[in-house]
């Protein structure tokens, strides 16, 4: 029965190839647009997610306050309002996983004939954990390096390449000023951050080493930033309040006075970026869906024409024993076949277009199995939905009238 009906549908579609093709084209364009737009939208979401995970998860950043000299205010982190003991106090709070105080500066460094300028982050070993940043080669420095202020460093990939070229830097030395530093390890590459800055262009060393032997900081122990990693996303709001209260108390700020630090929930910032791309990809999908809808209406239109054209055939079939549901199934099947074939072609074009966008426009695209599945389900649904009315109309014809139809 189904075999006969499939042959039937195939014959009917073959009877007017151009018309069938044009009807299908509506579905092809609709599905292709949906798949392509979803691929681009999900690609954008994917790259944002990548960036967010490169920042580390559940991260707070506390920046020290700004200096104000004669009304000229410097940026955040310029005043020595935070120090290592603040970090140690925060580490005692509930819900804190790790804490890493960070002091940084831009430094010129030399290795043989190469020299390079990069940011030096002086911090504690917890830094790597807080930023979820694994060491790719070699090892990180330890708490004893921090206590002893040994001249060791971990290089970002960009710095390693610029100083050492093809050499393996682990165990080798480079100079900052006249002081030699031993490379303990190389960080795994992280890529760009949300602002597009290369995160791999840095050198990480113990805070004590950096302050004593590189920057020569005036207030030893003061830091520009404290990285705090919370143990879970749920504790973050409470922890944020507790940290603020603690720091205000430690800094002896009076009621009503402004904070002399800035506390940022990086995860919240990242989430808003993610939400933006999510809305964007939803919007893209919604616009593309309109073309799918138009394709569906095209199918309905053609099926209605087809029912009218084949009125006599329907009458004959009814006279020789077709039940209403046989006629219904026949026309429904035709609509579904058109939309599913159109969907398959559209899928191929959409995936191809996504691949093209990836190679030509260097766009991040993600074609997920679920989007393919959704496209197929929607296409079959469109076939049923827009095929149903014409099929119902065909099945409801009066056989006598239909037989008389010229």
């Amino acid at each position: 029965m189904l075999g006969a009906m499939l042959r039937e549908a195939w014959r009917a579609m073959g009877a007017n190839r151009l018309r069938t093709f044009l009807t299908m084209l509506g579905m092809v364009i609709g599905v292709g647009a949906v798949v392509l737009m979803m691929a681009i939208g999900q690609g954008a979401q994917y790259s944002v997610a990548q960036t967010i995970s490169s920042m580390g998860s559940n991260i707070f950043v506390i920046l020290s306050g700004y200096t104000s000299t004669g009304g000229v205010r410097s940026g955040g982190g310029s005043a020595p309002t935070l120090n290592v003991s603040d970090a140690e106090a925060i580490a005692e709070l509930d819900g804190v996983d790790t804490v890493a105080p960070v002091h940084w500066g831009s430094v010129q460094m030399v290795r043989g004939p190469n020299n390079w300028n990069a940011w030096v982050h002086g911090t504690a070993p917890a830094y790597f954990d807080a930023r979820s940043w694994p060491i790719a080669e070699g090892s990180a420095f330890t708490d004893s390096d921090l206590r002893a202020a040994t001249r060791v460093a971990v290089l970002g990939r960009t710095v390693a390449q610029n100083l050492f070229g093809d050499e393996d830097p682990v165990g080798k030395t480079f100079r900052i000023g006249q002081a030699p530093f031993t490379v303990l390890g190389i960080l795994a590459p992280k890529g760009q951050n949300l602002e597009g800055r290369d995160q791999d262009d840095l050198v990480v060393m113990p805070l004590t080493t950096a302050q004593r032997r590189v920057f020569g900081t005036a207030f030893q122990g003061s830091v520009r930033q404290i990285l705090v990693k919370a143990s879970a996303p749920e504790v973050m709001p409470a922890l944020e309040k507790n940290m603020e209260a603690l720091l205000r108390q430690r800094h002896r700020l009076r009621e009503g006075a402004d904070n002399d630090f800035t506390l940022r929930n990086l995860t919240a910032v990242a989430e808003s970026a993610a939400a933006t791309t999510r809305v964007m990809s939803l919007l893209l999908g919604a616009i593309a869906s309109v073309s799918l809808l138009v394709g569906g209406i095209g199918i309905m239109n053609i099926m209605l024409v087809s029912v009218t054209e084949r009125t006599r055939e329907i009458g004959i079939r009814m006279a020789i024993g077709a039940r209403e549901r046989d006629i219904l199934a026949q026309f429904l099947l035709e609509a579904i076949i058109i939309s599913v074939i159109g969907c398959a072609i559209g899928l191929a074009l959409g995936v191809g277009g996504a691949a093209l966008a990836n190679t030509l426009a260097k766009m991040t695209v993600v074609v997920s199995g679920s989007s393919v599945l959704i496209a197929f389900a929607v296409a079959a649904g469109v076939g049923v939905f827009f095929g149903f009315y014409p099929a119902k109309k065909a099945a409801g014809l009066d056989p006598i009238e239909a037989l008389r139809y010229q």
Binding site: R11, A15, A319, I400
Partner: protein
């Protein structure tokens, strides 16, 4: 006496028109026994087509009863009447009504699709039926490639393929020339000789005389019901089982 194939009691059919109900059939009663060959005649507007539609379960009477092979059609739902049209009745139309895009074999096999019979068996039975009406070599052809008379033979094969108890033919020779008409009527007579009940509508006397019984309609009533004079017991011995295509006039007495 065997159960009649058709039993109509006080049948009436009204059509709704803007000017009020129009009675197309008024109090028609008729019985057709198995193996009969009945010609229904009457001028246009006499109600014979309405009667045919009701006999074919395409239309329902306004009043009265219609029993087809002992079953009261009024009690059946749409699917059951579709099954009756599929298995109990074979239709032959004036305009042949073959589906133009299908091969002759597929056309003949079409009723079997609706009785859920498998592909292989469908083609085998369709082939056998085409053979029977003398078109065995044309199974793969399209209807447009053969003559009107041949098309009507294919339509008859289609009507026969599901082994019906009753063949209903509505002006089956209306689109054919007189010679081809004779051939087609020969086919009906041969079928009737095999025991198949045939009811046909015609407005041509020559055609009606092939039948054994003639029923005449006028203004929605039966005004005449008698055996035709050609129905002679001796005539049966002359009949050829089934005249082949082109075998003109071969022992088909008129």
């Amino acid at each position: 006496m065997p159960e009649p194939v058709i039993r109509v009691e006080s049948l009436a059919k009204d059509y709704d028109t803007p000017a009020g109900p129009f009675p197309a059939l008024k109090d028609v009663s008729l019985e057709v026994a198995p193996g009969e060959f009945v010609a229904i005649m009457g001028p246009s507007g006499s109600g014979k087509s309405t009667f045919m539609n009701i006999l074919g379960c395409l239309d329902r009477p306004s009043r009265g009863r219609y029993l087809l092979a002992g079953r009261d059609v009024a009690t059946l739902d749409k699917d059951e009447t579709a099954a009756l049209r599929n298995r109990t009745i074979g239709f032959v139309f004036q305009g042949f009504n073959l589906l133009p895009r299908m091969s002759l074999a597929d056309n003949v096999a079409l009723p079997l699709v609706y009785s859920a019979i498998g592909h292989e068996e469908r083609l085998a039975r369709a082939g056998a039926m085409l053979e029977k009406v003398g078109l065995g070599g044309y199974a793969g052809s399209l209807p447009s490639r053969i003559s009107g008379g041949q098309q009507q033979r294919v339509a008859i094969a289609r009507a026969l393929v599901n082994d019906p108890r009753l063949i209903l033919a509505d002006e089956p020779t209306g689109n054919l020339d007189s010679h081809t008409s004779e051939e087609i009527m020969g086919v009906f007579r041969a079928l009737n000789d095999e025991g198949i009940t045939v009811v046909l509508i015609t407005h041509e006397n020559d055609i009606a005389l092939h039948a054994r019984r003639l029923v005449r309609f006028l203004d929605g009533r039966i005004v005449e019901d008698r055996p035709t004079r050609q129905f002679l017991p001796s005539a049966a011995s002359h009949r050829h089982p089934l005249p082949r295509e082109g075998g003109r006039g071969e022992g088909t007495p008129c």
